[in-house]
């Protein structure tokens, strides 16, 4: 939470500080790729917490763009991004399995997991960029759609009754998404620049459906918050004259 506040404070303060001296900004599009570090409950591995997501550090790739009005520091930015935050591993299933075995008071449970945390985000919002001709600093806050392409699907078979399995389904929820972050643009040429970005991305909790849960027993995950910190490197292509 403190981290989010710090980013928001920077997003508000830095553009004001840089307003006074900045060379004209050109619109750009870019591509960047890097790591997505799952955070908060999305990353937690506490099986007793129904919002623990067991998500991992994964991959993030994004197409970015921004249009600056009259070359000023204020622009409208957009981003389409794909993020992958891994899958459930054997250690995760062991933790979850111990909980189900205990909760259902059975001799053993067999857990099967398939699928990964994958999502697409399409976000737009204000951006502020300032600095000299060679090096520019960008701060932006974006909001839009978070589309889950899938989450790990978990099937639990209770030994006492092998026909009585239940499933935590893969989610394909569409939720509200947002991000806030900073970027550093270094011009390699008039048209091409290197960009380093750091963003905090999140979404309202996604909905998870469960099948064949007949009794109120054991871990039942129905909502999953999705939050991640991304660190990427990429290229930006300047548009216009």
């Amino acid at each position: 939470m403190k981290f989010n506040v710090a980013i928001l404070a920077a997003a508000l303060a830095l553009p004001v500080a840089g307003w006074a001296q900045s060379s004209p900004n050109k619109s750009y599009i870019g591509i960047n790729a890097g790591a997505s570090f799952a955070t908060g409950n999305f990353r937690h591995t506490d099986a007793e917490n129904t919002e623990s997501g067991f998500a991992k550090t994964g991959f993030h790739v994004a197409l970015d763009g921004a249009h600056f009005f009259k070359g000023g520091i204020v622009g409208l930015a957009g981003q389409v991004a794909f993020s992958d935050n891994g899958r459930l591993l054997a250690d995760d299933l062991t933790k979850l399995g111990e909980g189900y075995t205990e909760a259902f008071d059975v001799d053993a449970t067999t857990l099967r997991a398939t699928g990964r945390y994958r999502r697409l985000t399409a976000l737009v919002g204000p951006t502020f960029m300032f600095g000299g001709d060679k090096l520019k600093f960008e701060v932006r806050g974006l909001a839009g759609i978070n589309q889950m392409l899938g989450t790990p699907q978990l099937t639990v078979q209770l030994e006492d009754d092998p026909t009585n399995t239940f499933t935590q389904k893969s989610s394909h929820s569409t939720t509200f998404g947002y991000s806030a972050g900073i970027g550093l643009h270094y011009a390699l040429s008039e048209k091409l620049g290197l960009v380093a970005r750091s963003d905090f991305m999140g979404s309202s909790p996604i909905t998870i459906k469960n099948e064949n849960r007949n009794n109120t027993v054991g871990r039942l995950s129905e909502k999953q918050p999705v939050t991640a910190f991304t660190a990427t490197l990429g290229l930006a292509f300047t548009l216009g004259q």
């Binding site: 899958r87 053993a108 449970t109 239940f166 091409l192 109120t216």
Partner: protein
């Protein structure tokens, strides 16, 4: 408004590498399977029925059905001890009844009933007065199965035991279902017979009926209403 975009070779390489990495990760979708065994399982050796006259609380009695286990956890060769598994009830009387379950293989004796209360959503006690003219709540034994002592198999034909059992406690499932730790027995006219008590373990399948799941404990009591 915008000029034609020319992509430099290094930019094309970078973009291509990012795309390949994305596709590679997206296709890496290995399944996992893990079996989680139970760390420990308590045994159940003893069932008690504590019966209290609802109108006269000092009128109370306890019946005990016990199957002790050997060092390997198998039932002792002498069979269950049913010498205390007897209830003598008054006709046309209401009794409050509490079921107790214990593991006497542990020292001190472990209260399994407390565990059952905590796991009420996947357990259910069923009661079968015998003989009866009503549909059976608990199916009669088939094949080589037998009623638990002291109930004879098959149950001798005769007048029904005039006993009605109502399970009064409920679990915390979305639709609350009976558990059967606390109950009401209502007696009718004088009669004799048996009472079979079965604890069913119904993980993720408890629906109020006897069928799903498996039997954790099966005990029998003689009942005289006089």
């Amino acid at each position: 408004m915008f000029s034609t975009l020319r992509i430099a070779p290094q930019a094309r390489f970078f973009a291509g590498a990012a795309l390949l990495a994305t596709l590679g990760l997206a296709s890496c979708n290995k399944d996992e399977e893990v079996v989680s065994p139970s760390v420990e399982n308590e045994a159940v050796t003893t069932m008690t029925l504590t019966v209290t006259n609802a109108a006269t609380p000092t009128d109370t009695q306890t019946a005990t059905w016990e199957q002790l286990l050997d060092a390997q956890g198998n039932p002792v060769a002498s069979g269950p001890n049913v010498s205390q598994a007897n209830l003598t009830l008054k006709p046309n009387t209401t009794y409050n009844v509490t079921v107790g379950l214990f593991d006497k293989t542990q020292t001190p004796t472990f209260d399994v009933g407390a565990e059952i209360r905590e796991r009420a959503n996947i357990h259910s006690f069923f009661f079968q007065p015998l003989p009866t003219t009503q549909p059976l709540v608990i199916p009669a034994p088939t094949g080589s199965d037998t009623y638990p002592l002291p109930i004879p198999t098959p149950v001798p034909a005769g007048n029904p035991l005039n006993l009605t059992v109502d399970r009064t406690d409920r679990d915390s499932n979305t639709t609350p279902l009976p558990l059967g730790i606390t109950n009401t027995f209502v007696t009718g006219a004088a009669s004799t017979g048996y009472l079979q008590v079965v604890l069913r373990h119904q993980p993720n399948s408890k629906d109020g009926t006897y069928t799903p799941g498996s039997t954790d404990f099966d005990a029998g009591f003689t009942v005289k209403i006089q």
